[in-house]
């Protein structure tokens, strides 16, 4: 019974069709991009640059999770793949002393391979079981990172991770991240809007039907999952270069939950929603900083309220407002 309800929720996803959302989304995207590019030149405070950088990295991670969600699977362990990527790249850089580009590649390939190894098994699972198994897998990854001290430095992590040469200053690094993340987000958007995206949508809406019409359902899911893990790994690499420090605690269930919450707040419907969710989650804690514990209480209440009132997330709020405005204008 609950599976039907769950499927109904997921089924509403992308009902508008990717095309309908495209034009206003693209316009908005261009405006945001322009604003971000101008940000360091206009604002004298490097703090905003720092927040923006962090936000971009989170956006990439959340978007990678969004890919998996669009195939109908909600993962609660995605930060684990970020961690695998971060460690792979860092170790390549600091231990093997290989060039930065190779390290970044390792940061994509390692989690992708891991995704390829577990994907065919875990993607057979439905709804809640997938959530639980990914949660466990995230914990297993974290435990591995903590216990394999000789390789990973254990719970004390690895510090003094150098940023790519030439991008050491905060502003330069910001532009690097802006460029990389924008490219990748556009790529993700295009995948979602293409043939593959439509295949994903049909798989999510009705797996049986998709299977009957000859789609290689499991293969599609695994392919998307592998890509998503790789992209999450890249987000991890960027984070390693940003914070100059990684430890297992940076990639634990707390972070996986954050990524999931971002997607849920964004409505699980579209990439745009996910990006709105990212902004919300990056900005809110900064606004509430003076209320230390109260901040978390408010955050919890906000989650409950958004889930109750706007099951479609903040993106639905946007759609509703647009609807209201449209009705006013046509009176």
């Amino acid at each position: 019974m609950n599976e039907r309800a769950g499927a109904a929720v997921l089924g509403r996803l992308g009902q508008d069709g990717p095309g309908a959302m495209r034009r206003p989304a693209v316009l908005l995207g261009v405006l945001v991009l322009a604003a971000l590019v101008l940000l360091p030149l206009v604002m004298s405070s490097l703090f905003l640059v720092s927040v923006a950088t962090g936000m971009l990295i989170t956006a990439l991670a959340a978007a990678s999770l969004h890919l998996v969600i669009r195939t109908g699977h909600v993962s609660l362990g995605h930060a684990g793949f970020m961690g695998v990527g971060a460690y792979a790249a860092t170790l390549t850089q600091t231990v093997l002393h290989w060039p930065v580009v190779v390290a970044a590649l390792a940061g994509f390939v390692a989690p992708a391979l891991l995704g390829l190894a577990v994907g065919p098994f875990v993607l057979r699972l439905t709804g809640k079981y997938f959530v639980l198994v990914t949660f466990l897998f995230g914990e297993i990854i974290r435990l591995g990172l903590v216990n394999w001290q000789s390789l990973t430095g254990g719970a004390n992590g690895i510090f003094q991770i150098p940023a790519p040469p030439g991008f050491g200053s905060p502003v330069a690094f910001f532009f690097l991240v802006l460029g990389v993340v924008t490219l990748l987000l556009v790529g993700i958007g295009r995948i979602l809007g293409s043939e593959i995206g439509r295949a994903m949508d049909s798989v999510r809406q009705s797996e049986r039907l998709a299977q009957c019409s000859g789609m290689p359902v499991l293969k599609i899911k695994v392919a998307v999952f592998v890509l998503s893990c790789g992209l999450a790994g890249l987000a991890g690499v960027l984070q390693a270069w940003f914070v100059h420090f990684i430890d297992p605690g940076s990639f634990s269930t707390v972070q996986s939950l954050n990524l999931l919450v971002i997607n849920v707040l964004g409505g699980l419907q579209s990439l745009t929603g996910t990006l709105i969710g990212t902004t919300f989650l990056a900005v809110l804690p900064e606004l509430l900083r003076s209320y230390v514990e109260l901040q978390h209480v408010i955050f919890g209440i906000v989650l409950i309220t958004v889930m109750a009132v706007l099951p479609g997330g903040l993106a639905e709020a946007g759609a509703r407002i647009r609807g209201l405005v449209a009705r006013r204008l046509t009176r």
Binding site: S45, L46, F47, L48, S50, V51, G54, L143, V146, N147, Q149, G154, A155, N156, G157, F159, Q160, Q239, F242, V243, H244, F245, I246, D247, G249, S250, V254, E286, R289, V292, E293, Q295, H296
Partner: protein, 390 residues
């Protein structure tokens, strides 16, 4: 007419004297605080914040901080890092870039301390941290603007072990059950090496933080026939449980903690089973020097005073004294004065000692005298006062 104008003139002089005093008194100087203020590490973070607050309040009560011809009213800005590296970086970015803070107390623990380094050191922001990771002092910046204000296990381990060898010569084998976190993983190699150097056998097992039922692991340890159970870096809550459970399953050997801070919580949890328990501590509440702090804390805050409070009370006093001596708020000058405060008589710990040249290549590690305390029935008595080794 003359009398009136005289009167008016004198009134004006007196009035202007008053107003200019008032105007001069209150320029604000804010110190930054970064620590875990929510989630699991809150007790330590709050301890840090409160220790700093008490020190600042005392100075404000006596008229403020007088530096460079101005008087400053002291305050603090506290940000939560949730014991997470990325959060610590955001917090320190905000303090340094947005709020323009030049002096930061905290973070505590490797994730926060190590990630904040990359921001504070290039910006010449002076930092006072706690946490076991050697990288806090041994790094590419050569800890230029960072001081560790608490003993790390590198400072006290060897000394405690030599004391154990002296005080308990019958001990042959030591068992350690350690949390599998940053502190635990940093502490174990040092302590193990120290024990082995004294000819003692060592057995170690790790547990996951959050686990509270230690009986199976304790059973495993007892099968190893250890004479001494060292609780190492376990948190007070876990330590209390381990003391209680190890006695419940009939362990007859010695129980000791070479690390951690604060005996009261352990005694509260273990009750009468804590009898005979020996512990490292950085503060002696019975000591006359500590009493004013204990009283001040009890007046303002609820809950027990944990080990972070005196540590950061002390650290704040060191910083403020260095500012006075530098007669400036320039961080490089203040940093130099902090180093030169070697030998200055601190309120809580006596003469200040900076050390660490051998272990870290610089002298930014505080060397605090510490106590080995024993629980004796209802009271806790100090067995010995020890000095850390460089």
């Amino acid at each position: 007419m003359q009398v009136t104008s005289w009167a008016v003139a004198s009134a004006l002089v007196v009035a202007s004297a008053f107003t200019s005093v008032a105007a001069r008194a209150d320029e604000d100087l804010k110190l930054g605080v970064i620590a875990a203020l929510s989630g699991g590490g809150t007790a330590w973070g709050l301890g840090l914040q409160r220790g700093v607050q008490i020190a600042l309040d005392e100075v404000n009560a006596s008229g403020g901080l007088k530096v460079g011809g101005k008087t400053y009213k002291l305050g603090l800005v506290a940000y939560d890092d949730q014991y997470n590296a990325a959060q610590a970086k955001t917090a320190v970015d905000r303090l340094v870039q947005q709020d323009g803070i030049k002096f930061i107390m905290g973070p505590i623990g490797s994730p926060g301390a190590l990630s904040s380094l990359s921001v504070t050191q290039p910006a010449k922001v002076l930092q006072f941290v706690d946490g076991y990771a050697p990288g806090i002092l041994k790094n590419d910046f050569n800890a230029a603007y960072i001081f560790r204000v608490d003993n790390s296990n590198l400072e006290f381990s060897e000394r405690i072990v030599t004391w154990i060898k002296q005080a308990m010569p019958e001990v042959r084998k030591v068992g350690m059950i350690v949390p599998n976190d940053a502190t635990g993983q940093a502490a174990v190699p040092t302590l193990t090496a120290a024990y082995k150097k004294q000819g003692l056998d060592v057995w170690v097992d790790f547990y996951e933080r959050g686990n509270k039922e230690f009986t199976p692991v304790l059973l495993r340890m007892m099968a190893q026939n250890v004479d001494l159970f060292d609780l190492n870096s376990a948190s007070p809550g876990d330590a209390g449980l381990m003391v209680k459970q190890v006695r419940q399953i009939g362990f007859k050997g010695k129980v000791l903690q070479a690390g951690g801070a604060g005996v009261d919580e352990i005694v509260a949890i273990a009750g009468p089973l804590a009898n005979g328990f020996i512990k490292y501590d950085v503060v002696d509440e019975a000591d006359a020097r500590t009493k004013p702090l204990v009283d001040a804390y009890a007046r303002k805050f609820s809950g027990p005073m944990n080990g972070m409070v005196p540590i950061y009370y002390n650290a704040t006093q060191i910083l403020l004294e260095a500012m006075r001596r530098a007669d400036s708020l320039d961080t490089t000058k203040v940093r130099d004065e902090v180093e030169k405060l070697q030998g200055w008589n601190t309120q809580l710990y006596g003469p200040l000692r900076w050390g660490g040249q051998v272990s870290y290549g610089n002298n930014h590690q505080i060397m605090l005298p510490f106590y080995m305390k024993q629980v004796d029935g209802k009271s806790i008595r100090v067995l010995s006062t020890l000095q850390p080794v460089d």
